[in-house]
Amino acid sequence: AAGAPKPLPSSGPKSLREMPHPLATSSSEEMGPALTPSPDLLLPRSIADKDLTLPNGTPVDTSSPASSSSLLNRLQLDDDLDGETRDLFVTVDDPKKHVCTMETYITYRVTTKTTRAEFDLPEYSVRRRYQDFDWLRNKLEESQPTHLIPPLPEKFVVKGVVDRFSEEFVETRRKALDKFLKRITDHPVLSFNEHFNVFLTAKDLNAYKKQGMALLSKMGESVKYVTGGYKLRSRPLEFAAIGEYLDTFSLKLGTIDRIAQRIIKEQLEYLVELREYGPVYSTWGGLEVELSEPLEGVSACVGNCCTALEELSEDMTEDFLPVLREYILYSESMKNVLKKRDQVQAEYEAKLESVALKKEDRPKVPTDVEKCQDRVECFNADLKADMERWQNNKRQDFRQLLMGMADKNIQYYEKCLTAWESIIPLLQDKPETK
């Protein structure tokens, strides 16, 4: 349950404003002994009266030792986390079909292995369905609005076009759900989110969901992070750049998606012709005597190429396209986070302006304006850190994806090569040598 927000670690009772910008320096002296690379030692420290709340009053989930600290993110940007630094492992597998009176659906097994103190046990195994993942994502968006939440595979499938229970569809979805949880696991803030914890551990998730709903209704009807319509004058350069990047990025991905689909379509049409082509050699072989074996050989060869091509197209459909689409969804949700950030900044600027206009004799800035400023700086820091992390992961993901695509094509040609090379001796065989 949402408890009292746990405070940030700090080197002392400084106000956030006086602290150097988290990304400004890399020196660790100011950070204090709490911030060491080893996650095991990152325990919440008490700090003076700095609490973070969202403009709508919802407390920011700071159950993590360094909720909005990009310092931690920076220290953990090293992606080659070896087994020693990892303390949380999550896997999604074993899809099973459930047939009930009202509906039929699939559940997946979610296995967790961890040494983290936030978990009561070192191992968990629960079953979750897509709805539950969707719920988790929504909760994360609500409770961690300053962070980039990974995407889920698409919720709705056009019935009749896609078979929701086919092996291929379920496997594609499973991989995407596994990726979703792994991305959260790798995130230094999101992985400590309590909803995530409950998702991984609770036997009865539905009970928790209902409880959560009740609590929220106490706090107010709007759980969405929506602020009043403040208009932002201009997006700071670096965020404008991110926005532009995401626009072009998702555009290019869309193009690649269309190209890949077109290639698959052309390959399937090629396959249709090949399937007619091979057997004609066989028919011919039936007419001949001496040429019978060579012609049959060619027919079989073409058949093998057909099989290889089929496998290539399947792989591209199941492994390549979904990842592209995932990243397009990712970009969309990221653009929304950018907009939210704009809102927070706009609110701050508006409030600041109204204070300035009052022309009162106060040297000190009122606390609510200060809080706004904190929010802006927090948001900016979180977002920047997440962007850097996202860029790195994206680079790795695409490196893997594109290398995989090249690999599949290489394998296709290798299969065909083997087939054709193997019939050369058959074709060259002289009747006398038989």
Binding site: E266, Q267, E269, T283, P294, Y413, L417, L427, Q428
Partner: protein, 368 residues
């Protein structure tokens, strides 16, 4: 043994302006017709197609297309080489003049009067002539040639469609080149890898043009045998007509003999209009009958001689035709095996190119 210089000069002549090429093609046709009529028992090498057939979309169906013209030129050269390497045909004087004599060759051919020997019935390809005692071997061979034509046509049609589709697959990959380039512009670390991989995608897309051009040679080899099957069928047909003529002549002889006998003995064994009229209008005079018998006896003698020579002709035909058919079979088996091997080699080369390109692309991606 023919000198290659002669063949070359012929091909050079074909590079002459378009109208002279067309004349040349018609002269090839004239030569082939002459050979077909003069050597009916030989499976005469076929000419390459007059019009572009079995084309896939990138290939032009235009007969003036330089690629088509070139391939036909090669086909015509091949035709001459086939004739030149045939043990019987290479000795033909008209063929020799075709290679050596530029002017007046046409007149020379027509002077042989070979058109008179040409059997117009051969043009009616599917007209059936009921042969009472067909030679089983020729019947089977005719059936085989029909099937061969059918299967090779089918193969060529599908191959053209396969080529078309394969072309599409390769060319679409070219789009990757452009989008990777555009994408690399907004990336920092990934940029170089993407850009260079895109270049390889362009190479991949471009490679299909040469691959399919080479495959056309394979298609041409198949086409030659498609047309050869027709030549084979023609030999069977000629035999069929020969056999039919033989049977008709034998039948005619038999009926004449019968008539003669009837006239001589005065008995009417078979119903005949003449018999009826003579019954109705009275018997002939003995002089008339004698005259008729004499005519018939002359005809019978002629007929017997003709039948004898036809029989001999027939036996000779079968003997030499079958020898050439055996020669043709061996040639066909050898050539088609070679064609299949070269096709497999082409496929292997295409696979290796594919592996190379994608390996290069993979390396670029790995540097992202």
């Amino acid at each position: 043994v023919l000198s290659f210089r002669a063949v070359e000069s012929q091909s050079e002549a074909q590079c002459a302006p378009v109208d002279s090429l067309w004349r040349r093609y018609s002269e090839f046709e004239l030569l082939r017709n002459y050979l077909s009529v003069t050597y009916p028992h030989i499976v005469v090498p076929p000419l390459p197609e007059k019009r572009a057939d079995f084309v896939w979309h990138k290939l032009s169906a235009d007969n003036m297309d330089p690629d088509f013209v070139e391939r036909r030129r090669i086909g015509l050269e091949n035709f001459l080489l086939r004739v030149a390497s045939h043990p019987v045909l290479c000795q033909d004087k008209i063929f020799y003049s075709f290679l050596t004599q530029e002017g007046g060759w046409k007149e020379m051919v027509n002077e042989t009067g070979f058109q008179l020997k040409a059997d117009s019935r051969l043009k009616a390809l599917n007209a059936t002539f009921r042969v009472k005692n067909p030679d089983k071997r020729f019947t089977e061979l005719k059936h085989y040639s029909d099937e061969l034509q059918s299967v090779i046509s089918h193969l060529l049609r599908v191959r053209a469609r396969v080529a078309d589709r394969l072309y599409g697959v390769y060319k679409v990959h070219g789009n990757y080149g452009r989008v990777f380039s555009e994408w690399s512009a907004i990336e920092k670390e990934m940029g170089d890898g993407l850009q260079s991989a895109g270049h390889h995608m362009d190479v991949y897309a471009a490679s299909i043009d040469d691959i399919l051009e080479e495959e056309e040679h394979y298609a041409d080899q198949l086409k030659e045998y498609l047309f050869y099957a027709e030549a084979l069928r023609a030999v069977c047909r000629k035999h069929e007509l020969m056999q039919y003529d033989l049977e008709m002549a034998a039948q005619d002889l038999t009926s004449k003999k019968q008539q003669c006998e009837e006239l001589a003995t005065g008995t009417v064994r078979t119903f005949s209009l003449k018999g009826m009229t003579s019954k109705l209008f009275g018997q002939e005079t003995p002089e008339q009958r004698e005259a008729k018998i004499k005519v018939l006896e002359e005809q019978i003698q002629e007929g017997e001689e003709q039948l004898k020579s036809k029989n001999l002709e027939g036996r000779d035909f079968v003997k030499s035709a079958w020898a050439d058919i055996e020669r043709f079979k061996e040639q066909k088996n050898h050539d088609l095996k070679e064609a299949l091997i070269s096709y497999a080699v082409m496929q292997i080369s295409m696979c290796k190119k594919g592996i190379q390109v994608w390996t290069n692309a993979k390396e670029c991606f790995s540097k992202m």
